[in-house]
């Protein structure tokens, strides 16, 4: 690890900080924070309460608004955490105490007895299969079973079981002991004891996540009494192909497919009675997703969602919501369900509700799903107590607007649903942000505790004949029960160039790695094949064994005879034949494999931050505190961006004071070079090594950077409607806010005020919600009420979207007498002016009446629109925009801060409309993403990438058009296309599309793929 990015305080004699971080929790947030930190040169201890990482996201079926499979997207991250050299997974463990101060903590952690020796266990699963005790599965949310010895779910990491001593008969009755008898490696240890370990860390990140609210708090919905009332989390499991019904939607009472399903929103949210007055932020969208997925599963199912306000405020949510109604036929019913009753004979459910027009109605459903809210997870209160941090009144970690990850104890940070209810991308952003905060604290110890593996130099195999070794795995009985492993081994020996073949009980065990190494040496093997499970999980392990034995890791191939053979075929003869075929195909490919030399590409340890608003400044400052220099390029003469116009927050912060402080810090910081009145005019290079030209009024400067952060902000929509610009008394919310702050006296006489929501949002031209306007209206309404308590304030809206704790301010505004009237977009309010007097006519939907108001001022909640520079800067950087014109990240869920082009990141309003605290978290998060890149001396490039043969390239530019990452570039001097190894993602689309076969993907060259087809139909002779 390099000395780069060591901020170095230079204090001699001050006790050294510890270059390690403890992350408490194992969900997606904890995983992201751990990966960011470990990749940036810090040691990470991930302490998780349950037996495996993955958290809530692993339980979900699909994710909104892309309908991606949740497991498919989280799985690579699970594997990455599991095999990361610098992340210690401490599962089935709980923190007991935290002593010390920021930079130097000592944590005591209780590691519960797993009763399984992980150094011996290979995760074959036989114990689980044989265990006779069935228990309700936590992972299946109580609608499926697990055993007393169990791995929580098939893809869990670590994929090794623990014994649940509360239910295991060995512990409850001193009977059974089957698992010990059956375990082929002797890994079961009933004498295993709890133990306490001590961890020395510099910073702590708390990520205990959330629990669903107990639906029994609303007994009128009958959960627990009526079988066909389930929670939304249970329904996720019902939808999931890996769930208890294998993805067939069956209602619990009779396992029949329901044809009419209702969702009831706000169960345990926005509800003072059950103690949760806040909005849980995610339920509207997950219910929408579940309804869409249901409609997709089975045609003709009628899905109805009973709601208060649809809160589709996130990126892409509004389109998703509209699509649910229009394309999937989901029926949205505005109305609160008062009771659910079960019909005795059919077990159908009768929902009684007050409809939008005030009538009491009843409707029958075959299944009712309760959209349960989120609350801080069980145990988070105790965790907060022992960590010595304060919680807010609802049990969430207390933080502040401008320091959204920092708890009340220095050096202890929080993320995800421990901050507030939030969805997956928000969690991932706050996770990266927490990682940055921790890295800032211990940056001088970067690289001090991380391990790096040393390998022997690679053997040159050029000119050697292929000598293949085949290792066939029994996987306990997983493979051997169906496949005749001995026959497969004998068969392998007959294949051309196979010099050695053997079987083993578990090829992945440490012993077997030694066997493989020894065989490579003794038989001078230069190709290795393992016929076992799946390369998705095990290829890296075996490739590492090759490297340890001095062989290039690309001389390896796997035959998947477990997941894709013994587990899916029952007939031993057929399965054995198929295994032979798979081994023959693997050998054929192995003969064509070539060693691939990977190169080291140097990294410029500087960042280019484009945009000098709140996000850009926050990102640059965080990078500076992590020891990295940046160029901060601001287009206008003054730093501050959109924040220049905001005066105060809903939570009461004085934003202008903060802005001043922030600008001061940026200007003082030696590691930040600020350019104002400046623009990026040229851009080239690749990850780790970008080149840009920054043009200011009098000159153009060339700058080099390893990473780029796009923080170019957004703009206020300039209304053309509602007499804006035609009457001095029609203002935007930002203008009102400036007036409240600067000339409050002028507003004391404003006796009647009308605010109109969704101006330039949620319409045909702007098919997105601007997210902040509802909160802004509530904020300004409350201020006006302070100035003039007698003022009559009308807020004309479509849905009030005050999510999370902003809901409390909405409630407060109603208590203060602010009137919220809902209009239909088909009948927008009308604003008129006669003799300088304004009048507003609006149709209120809930009372069904037309209302005439004579306001002193009309305030328009103008939306946030994409910055006008997005198309030009986007094309210069070769990064995409979304359909609304905001920048589009690499993946809406799990890579919200990265562009698909490596080395370029985004944050703040450039990403989508958001509140201040969200921009700060994103900006610090983007700094974390950039830092994990900048902290490296070199990037390893090459490997599985596309390479152009310039001799064959005719420069037709097909590859330039098809590459989703914009990597192929035409080089004039060569008359051919060049693909930068550092930027290529290795998808191979260009190679498939190239009409002249001038592009090849290394390790997947045509002859290497076709080799498998060629031997496919040879009949095996044994």
């Amino acid at each position: 690890m390099s000395s780069k990015g060591n901020a170095g305080n230079g204090d001699v004699g001050v006790s050294r900080k510890v270059g390690a971080v403890m992350v408490v929790g194992g969900g997606i947030g904890a995983m992201q924070a751990s990966l960011d930190l470990a990749n940036a040169g810090f040691k990470v201890y991930l302490v998780e309460r349950t037996p495996s990482i993955g958290g809530r996201m692993a339980q979900l079926d699909k994710t909104f608004p892309t309908n991606d499979c949740s497991m498919c997207t989280i799985s690579p991250k699970l594997v990455e955490c599991g095999k990361h050299l610098n992340i210690d997974l401490i599962t089935y463990s709980e923190v007991q105490s935290i002593e010390g101060t920021a930079g130097n903590f000592t944590a005591k952690v209780l590691c519960k007895a797993k009763s399984v020796d992980y150094s011996k266990c290979t995760g074959c699963g036989l114990c689980q299969e044989k265990c006779p005790t069935k228990v309700d599965s936590e992972f299946e949310a109580g609608i499926g079973k697990r055993k007393a010895i169990y791995v929580p779910y098939p893809q869990a990491v670590p994929n090794k079981p623990v014994i649940d001593r509360e239910h295991c008969m060995k512990f409850t009755k001193n009977k059974c002991g089957v698992c010990q008898k059956k375990c082929p490696t002797g890994a079961i240890n009933y004498e295993d004891q709890d133990k306490i370990i001590e961890l020395k860390v510099g910073a702590i990140i708390l990520a205990p996540g959330y629990d669903p609210v107990d639906p029994k708090l609303r007994p009128e919905y009958g959960f627990g009494r009526y079988k066909n009332v389930v929670t939304s989390l249970q329904y996720e499991r019902l939808l999931s192909a890996s769930g208890p019904t294998q993805g067939h939607i069956q209602r619990p009472s009779d396992q029949k497919a329901p044809h009419k399903i209702a969702w009831i929103q706000c169960v345990g949210s926005r509800d003072a009675q059950c103690g949760n007055e806040y909005c849980s932020s995610v339920c509207c969208m997950y219910a929408t997703k579940e309804a869409i997925m249901t409609a997709e599963h089975e045609k003709g199912v009628a899905c109805s969602i009973f709601f208060n306000d649809i809160r589709a405020f996130g990126k892409g949510f509004e389109r998703y919501y509209i699509g649910a109604e229009k394309d999937s036929g989901v029926k949205y019913i505005r109305g609160i369900v008062s009771t659910v009753r079960e019909m005795q004979r059919t077990k159908n459910l009768l929902a009684r509700y007050v409809s939008d027009d005030g009538e009491i109605k009843e409707e029958e459903f075959q299944l009712v799903i309760l959209s349960v809210g989120l609350r801080p997870s069980k145990g988070s209160k105790e965790l907060a107590e022992l960590a010595g941090i304060k919680l807010d009144s609802h049990g969430y970690a207390l933080t502040s607007t401008f320091r959204p990850n920092e708890t009340t104890r220095a050096g202890v940070f929080a993320l995800g649903a421990f901050l507030a209810p939030m969805d997956i991308p928000e969690t991932v952003m706050t996770a990266s942000s927490a990682a940055a905060a921790a890295a800032e604290l211990v940056s001088e110890e970067r690289g001090s505790l991380v391990a790096q593996k040393e390998y022997p130099s690679e053997r040159d195999i050029m000119g050697q004949k292929p000598r293949v070794g085949v290792f066939v795995c029994r996987c306990g009985t997983n493979i051997a029960r169906v496949v005749d492993v001995q026959k497969v081994v004998e068969y392998a020996k007959t294949l051309p160039h196979v010099e050695f073949a053997t079987e083993s009980l578990f090829t992945c065990s440490t012993d077997s790695q030694k066997t493989i190494s020894k065989a490579i040496e003794e038989h001078n093997l230069n190709r290795v094949i393992v016929a076992a499970c799946t390369p998705a999980t095990h290829e890296p392990l075996f490739q590492d064994t090759l490297k340890e034995a001095g062989l290039n890791k690309f001389l390896f191939e796997m035959a998947n005879i477990r997941n894709q053979c013994s587990w899916v075929h029952e007939d031993p003869v057929m399965a054995t034949e198929k295994s032979k075929d798979l081994v023959r195909m693997a050998v054929a490919r192995a003969l064509k494999l070539e060693p691939i030399k990977q190169l080291q590409s140097p990294v410029t340890a500087k960042a280019l931050v484009i945009g000098g608003g709140l996000s850009g400044m926050t990102a640059a400052l965080s990078l500076a505190r992590q020891g990295f220099e940046s160029y901060l390029v601001e287009r206008s003469p003054k730093l501050g961006g959109y924040l220049n116009r905001l005066q105060y927050t809903l939570e009461g912060d004085n934003t202008q004071e903060w802005l001043k402080k922030l600008v001061g810090e940026v200007e003082k910081e030696k590691r930040i070079k600020v350019f104002t009145d400046a623009e990026v005019t040229e851009f080239s290079g690749h990850v780790g090594n970008f080149h840009a030209a920054v043009k200011t009024a009098n000159k153009t400067e060339k700058v080099d950077a390893g990473a780029v952060i796009v923080a170019t902000g957004a703009q206020e929509y300039q209304p053309t409607e509602y007499l804006y610009g035609k009457s001095p008394n029609v203002l935007t919310q930002l203008e009102l806010e400036e007036k409240i702050a600067k000339e409050p006296e002028a507003l004391r006489n404003a006796n009647t005020v009308v605010m109109i929501q969704c101006v330039g949002s949620r319409d045909d031209e702007h098919m997105y919600c601007s997210r902040v306007c509802c909160g802004q209206a509530v904020k300004n309404a409350l201020r006006l009420k302070e100035l003039n308590p007698a003022a009559k304030i009308f807020v004309l809206h479509r849905d009030i979207r005050t999510y999370a704790s902003k809901e409390l301010a909405y409630k407060k505004a109603r208590e203060k007498g602010v009137l919220f009237l809902r209009y239909n977009p088909e009948h927008k309010p009308e604003v008129a002016q006669t003799n300088g007097k304004l009048s507003v006519r609006a149709q209120d939907v809930s009372i069904g009446a037309i209302i005439d108001i004579k306001p002193d001022i009309v305030v328009l909640s103008a939306g946030i629109k994409p910055h006008e520079t997005n198309p030009t800067l986007g094309s210069l950087l070769k990064v995409p925009l979304d359909r609304d014109g905001f920048y589009l990240e690499a993946h809406l869920k799990l890579r919200p801060l990265d562009f698909s082009s490596e080395g370029i990141f985004l944050c703040g309003l450039a990403h989508s409309p958001k509140y201040i605290e969200e921009s700060v978290a994103q900006a610090r998060g983007a700094a974390s993403r950039a830092a994990s890149l900048l902290s490296k001396d070199f990037l390893t490039v090459g490997g599985v990438i596309s390479v152009v043969n310039p001799e064959k390239c005719v420069a037709c530019l097909t590859c330039v058009r098809v590459c989703p990452y914009g990597v192929p570039a035409f080089k004039d001097e060569e008359g051919a296309v060049y693909i930068e190894p550092a930027s290529c993602q290795g998808c191979g689309i260009c190679a498939g599309a190239c009409p002249n076969k001038a592009i090849e993907v290394q390790h997947y060259k045509d002859r290497q793929v076709v080799a498998k087809c060629k031997v496919l139909c040879e009949v095996s002779k044994t």
Partner: protein, 68 residues
């Protein structure tokens, strides 16, 4: 395989990010299917080349399945 009746050779080209993982999951869940399918892992189904499909047929495959 003689005496077992028609034993087709079916080649499945699967994207390593999705369809290949799906096939792995089918295994984890012990979902039974025809043993005549042979999966070839690709980086991405974008890498599929008409050549691969034709080659498979030329070599005697009865069906080719591309999933990703």
């Amino acid at each position: 395989m003689e005496g077992l009746g028609f034993a087709p050779k079916i080649v499945a080209f699967c994207c390593q990010y999705c369809a290949y993982n799906a096939a792995d999951l089918a295994g984890s869940m012990r979902l039974q299917y025809s043993p005549y399918v042979r999966i070839i892992r690709l980086l991405c189904t974008g890498k599929i080349d008409s050549l691969y499909i034709l080659k498979a047929f030329e070599e005697g495959a009865d069906a080719v399945f591309v999933a990703g």
